[in-house]
């Protein structure tokens, strides 16, 4: 897999050779506006209208926990976060 990844990264490196004015513009990623000049624009994810901050009904907790690998008393159950030995743990 290392060889395949190297080949893919080599290919992607062609981006460095493209003369793209504007440099890195992370906020322009993805399905942003299709442009000006009368062309209808596509709503970008970051341009989505803010939703009202009000609680809405959601599915019952039991419905979601039915898919959990392990649950107990309405909570997700996982093995101990800290390893059994060592003063500070650090296993998680």
């Amino acid at each position: 897999m290392a060889g395949q990844l190297g080949k893919i990264v080599d290919y992607i490196d062609q981006l460095q050779r493209y003369d793209a004015p504007g440099g890195g513009r992370p906020d322009s990623a993805g399905a942003a506006a299709a442009g000006a000049s009368g062309t209808p624009s596509v709503p970008a994810p970051h341009a989505a209208p803010e939703a009202d901050d009000e609680p809405r009904p959601c599915l019952p907790r039991e419905t979601f926990l039915a898919n959990a690998p392990a649950a107990q008393d309405g909570f997700l159950l996982v093995p101990e976060v800290r390893p059994a030995t060592g003063p500070q743990g650090g296993g998680g």
Partner: protein, 523 residues
């Protein structure tokens, strides 16, 4: 075998089938049984379905028939809707409450959808009958269905070739007649490419046209749900049904859908069709190809065939009265590089939710929380998914962010500007859908980059959020389908369907796969 004529019900278009069922000429149960019989015959050859919902589908069809019967004898009719009794198949990443969903991944073994996707609910509200869930590349990552953890779907035209991907299951099922319509997701070409390889019509709607609520996320800035159909009219009807605003998806646009069938037969006389000039240089052989050159050389004969087919498609558009205008998309050669940076970056974030804690598979041997995370992902994800998560985390890492993710966004901005300019002089823009017809099983399995390049022409519409339809255009030398891609301005699906329908009429395409290579013929 042919899909035309007055033969079996499974051969009918969705539109015609719904018309007959609503007119009570045939029952939804009869339509379903015809499709189930067909499925039983072709599944051993193509393996498109991961699961057939046989009994739930029968109950649903009976309910449709009861509702129609309740409207007889002068009583007010209870019309189930425009897809009344139409058997449909879902890609295994679309949620249907109470049914299993795996994304063709081991990590979602045993998962049952707790709710129904908005697009699927719209199908049910329109009277559709869900026949089952279909195979795909794991988490929609792939172009051949070979990345499924469960089975290898085969192309109905030649069972020794791939059906394309990632929506290869729905595409193969629709082409083979084991569903009237299929529904998949398209992130970089995952509906259009398998539709092209299976000789059927595939639609990626405008970003924001269809709600993704209930679709398992891959790359959220380009994921779209769309239909696969045996004809353009059915594809438009299906798009019409699933489109529209949904408060549960904040990226879903609050814009009217309109009637996508109203102008579909109006033809393209005088329509300005933009022809992308950089086709030949774009699939790895261009000046910026770098490491892709060997793959491109190997694909050269196929490219020649595609170029000839594309020229013939342009002639057909000209005969239909369109005005062809050259448009320039210099960044086309970088589309795959841009796409694989942005899509893998988003995937690395989206797939972090599969942790063996909340749902899906947990490694049975994990003794600590760290082992739950590590071992569940190690055992649950396949090679391609791991590859893309690693690429995405690499592209987003602090030392490389500007060089990869930032750079990809800059080239994407350039691509958007180029397409915006193209659409100033053209109503739609065309390219081939794929660089070649279906490839052999295993042919590109050990060369992920060669596999990625089969999405060269489909990624720009995904990255920029444009609607695009793939329509069969002819055959390669092996007799396998090739297709034309028609892209439109945002939310102008009606124009794209009008062009696609005019092209379909010119070509006179028949979905008639021969199941070549199968020991016992199915048709």
């Amino acid at each position: 075998m042919t899909h035309r004529g007055d033969g079996d019900l499974w051969e009918l278009s969705a539109e015609e089938l719904a018309r007959r069922i609503r007119g009570r000429e045939v029952t939804a149960v009869a339509a379903l049984e015809s499709v189930l019989d067909r499925t039983a015959r072709v599944e051993p050859l193509i393996h498109a379905y991961l699961e057939v919902f046989e009994e739930p589908a029968r109950a649903r069809a009976q309910d449709i028939d009861r509702r129609l019967a309740a409207g007889s004898g002068g009583r007010a009719g209870d019309d189930p809707g425009p897809l009344a009794g139409v058997p449909v198949v879902l890609k295994d990443n679309l949620s249907l409450a109470g049914q299993r969903l795996t994304c063709a991944s081991r990590i979602l073994e045993g998962y049952v959808s707790p709710y129904t996707a908005t697009a699927v609910q719209k199908l049910l509200d329109a009277g559709a009958v869900v026949v089952g869930r279909a195979n795909m590349d794991e988490f929609a990552m792939g172009s051949s269905c070979e990345n499924s953890a469960y089975q290898q779907t085969r192309n109905p035209w030649d069972v020794g070739t791939v059906p394309g991907g990632s929506s290869g299951g729905p595409a193969a099922a629709v082409a083979a007649g084991s569903a009237a319509l299929g529904f998949g997701s398209d992130t970089g070409g995952s509906i259009r490419q398998p539709a092209a390889l299976c000789g059927v019509v595939g639609v990626k709607p405008t970003y924001g046209r269809v709600s993704r609520y209930g679709l398992v996320a891959f790359a959220s800035s380009t994921d779209q749900i769309g239909p696969i159909a045996r004809g353009v009219r059915d594809a438009a009807l299906a798009t019409q049904v699933i489109a529209g605003h949904d408060a549960n998806d904040s990226t879903c646009a609050d814009r009217p859908v309109g009637d996508l069938l109203a102008t579909i037969e109006d033809g393209i006389a005088g329509m300005r069709i933009g022809v992308v000039q950089e086709i030949d240089a774009a699939d790895g052989s261009g000046p910026a190809a770098g490491a892709a050159a060997p793959a491109a050389e190997a694909a050269a004969p196929a490219r020649g065939e595609m170029a000839a087919s594309f020229e013939a498609a342009l002639d057909a558009l000209r005969r239909a009265g369109a005005e062809l205008v050259p448009v320039s998309l210099p960044s086309l050669g970088a589309a795959i590089a841009v796409y694989y940076v942005i899509a893998t970056s988003e995937a690395s974030a989206n797939l972090a939710r599969f942790d063996g804690v909340r749902y899906g598979r947990r490694s049975p041997g994990a003794a600590s929380l760290a082992e739950v995370y590590f071992d569940s992902r190690t055992e649950g994800f396949g090679a391609e998914v791991k590859r893309r998560i690693m690429l995405g985390t690499f592209a987003l890492s602090s030392g490389y962010y500007a060089a990869y993710y930032g750079r990809a966004c800059a080239v994407l901005a350039q691509m958007r500007d180029e397409l915006t300019a193209a659409f100033r002089g053209a109503d739609v823009v065309v390219t081939p859908t794929t660089p070649s017809g279906a490839f052999r099983l295993g042919e590109k399995l050990d060369d992920p980059l060669a596999m990625y390049l089969s999405d060269t022409y489909t990624t720009p519409a995904s990255l920029v959020g444009l609607p695009a339809v793939s329509v069969p255009s002819g055959f390669d030398r092996r007799g396998l389908p090739l297709s034309l891609q028609i892209m439109g301005r945002p939310f102008e699906e009606a124009t794209v369907f009008r062009a696609a329908r005019a092209f379909e009429r010119q070509v006179g395409w028949q979905v008639a796969p021969s199941f070549r290579g199968a020991e016992a013929g199915a048709g």
